[in-house]
């Protein structure tokens, strides 16, 4: 039976927009606007969408690196104890920080250039009670070897490493506290194609060895298809489709996901499909369109889409749960 590790309920992150002489709040950027999501133990959940759709903000809100404005993030431990994270005091978060880790997008700016690798990586170990230096060096050395790097590298500085190596150091940093869930925020986007494949395989290997759960944030749907068990597609701060990764490609329900998939160039001359070209850009999250947020760009939009906001409904494709929020789906809804 699938067990949850994280439950998100109606999570919202609003950033105030300030203007004028008195710096008054004149509006909000609704970066994440009501997300319900369950992440199960041991799965890889992909979070896909265009830039500006709120994927990174959601990832950070889970770890409280950005404070959610509203909603609940509940952590479920292995023993089924539930803890609501957003209402905790800062210092009470500490034991959970150990369980939830993140790998950042840009390996060039996420390591401090004036510290050696060991200097950067030992801090979390110190904080969580690994007091002898020998032991810290051993833990970090072992992990460096696990990501195919040499133990001696821990005494070097970040500038001595290439992008792919730095990203692996970022992964070691996330791993050193033996976490249960890792948020990978565009972990392979900044890397060259050949290096990207190395890091992807490494992530899969580590998942197998350490029983990890990944929340894999990316804009590249061909990577998610390869890596993820389930995929959530976001648009303007909301989840528009959530289903098994295979179903997203074979039984696409939402017109946005359809357009997104058709726009990806495929390196296969036999599989050329007609691309659906969306008009215009993603609307501003300060002032989202009324009704379905996607309707101004949607090729199938009808009158109902302009007035009513669709909710995420449950359908079934291929015998799997398939959530989508669109007025125009013909399938029977499942309660």
């Amino acid at each position: 039976m699938k067990k949850e590790i994280l439950k998100l309920r109606d999570v919202k992150v609003y950033f105030p927009v300030k203007a004028g002489v008195f710096n008054r709040t004149v509006g909000h950027v609704m970066a994440v606007d009501g997300v319900d999501l369950d992440i199960y133990r041991g799965e890889v959940l992909g979070l896909a969408g265009e830039s500006g759709c709120g994927k990174t903000t959601l990832g950070k809100a889970i770890l409280r690196l950005v404070e959610p404005t509203n909603g609940e993030v509940t952590y479920v431990s292995k023993e089924d104890d539930e803890t609501e994270l957003t209402s905790l005091e800062k210092k009470d978060m500490d034991p959970f920080r150990k369980k939830l880790q993140i790998v950042f997008q840009d390996p060039h700016s996420s390591l401090n250039p004036s510290f050696t690798i060991f200097g950067s990586l030992q801090d979390p170990l110190k904080k969580f009670g690994v007091n002898s230096k020998e032991e810290r060096r051993k833990i970090i050395g072992d992990l460096l070897e696990a990501v195919n790097m040499r133990r001696e590298y821990m005494d070097r500085y970040p500038h001595e490493f290439s992008g792919g190596q730095r990203q692996r150091i970022g992964i070691v940093r996330a791993l050193c506290l033996d976490p249960e869930l890792i948020v990978c925020d565009e972990a392979v986007s900044a890397l060259d194609v050949s290096i990207q494949a190395q890091v992807l395989q490494l992530l899969m290997q580590l998942k197998k060895d350490n029983n990890l759960t990944y929340l894999f944030i990316t804009h590249d749907l061909s990577v998610t298809e390869y890596l993820c068990d389930r995929i959530a597609v976001m648009y303007l701060g909301r989840i528009v489709e959530l289903c098994d990764s295979e179903d997203l490609y074979k039984n696409t329900l939402h017109p946005y996901s359809e357009a997104l998939i058709s726009a990806i160039p495929v390196a296969d001359l036999d599989k050329k499909t007609k691309r659906i070209v969306l008009e215009g850009d993603v609307p501003s999250p300060v002032n989202p369109p009324k009704g379905c947020p996607f309707h101004p760009r949607c090729p199938k939009a009808k009158d109902i889409c302009k007035t009513e906001v669709p909710t995420l409904k449950k359908y079934s494709t291929n015998g799997n749960e398939h959530y989508a929020s669109c007025h125009l789906i013909d399938l029977p809804e499942i309660s």
Partner: protein, 342 residues
Amino acid sequence: MTDKNNIALSVKNLKTFFYTNNRCNKAVNGVSFDVEKGKTLCIVGESGCGKSVTAATIMQLLPTLSRIEEGEIIFHKDDKTVNIEKLEKNGKEMRNIRGSDIAMIFQDPMTALNPVYTVGFQISENLKYHTNLNRKEIREKSISLLNDMGIPLPEKRVDEYPHSYSGGMRQRAMIAMAMACNPKILIADEPTTALDVTIQAQIFELMEKLKEENDTAIILITHDMGVVAELADNVAVMYMGNIVEAGTADDVLRRPTHPYTKALLESVPVLGRGKNQDINPIKGSTPDPYNRPVGCQFAPRCNWQTESCDVMPEITQINKTHQIRCHKYEQFFEKYDEKRNS
């Protein structure tokens, strides 16, 4: 074989070297290719393989520390031919060609546009120097260019500054600038790498249209094999300053023969192949340009390396269009023949 009259630009044995700290980086080391009118040539490779330097060399936009060491860049302008490498960098002739006959779209529209001038001003600059239009006509032309690029309300947008444009719109404004004088050749250096896939689809649509309407030759630089499959007529795969495999899109994508091309194609997950597809990373990373392998540049990362690879392989023409730089191509290429015959 390519029709001689149809060639817009031919590059022959081009070498561009960089000189820093008394060391020499052979960024482009003997590259030859032809670009045909109304066709797209895609140059593919990892970062640091010399794709962008090749483009900058054609435009003579190289930094002062580098120079064209050897080779020819022949631009076929109407009936006569111009040897670009012999022109003075900032001389009158080069400035006449740059922007009007050969135009370029840069990778990052955020930094390529000047933030203190309006977009309209930046487009009209091109027209001011290369055409005889008066101020009013120039303005009208800029507006119609923006309109062609699908920018809403061009009359208003033409007077706005780049910061009020979104990423996709900036890239479209850049293309408008490049297309202002109907260039014969358009060089696009990773035009969509910084953009979302949906915006990328819009830009590709636009480039296809331009190619068909104006018979422009396009050189598209990219690292994405998917983009190649979508747009390319001809493909050149570069590695460490050399073209290792070149041919039509059909040749290179259906019968990849160089181990590097194969490895590139196998290292990315392909949409629609599901979870069980194999991806094989290329082992190691690109060598230090100051400390290159002796023979074939790809040998240390190649699975089929033998002693003969200590000598730099020559370019071999496999058939009319397909050429390759590898000692062992025969054994790879025969496999395709076997497959076809069986």
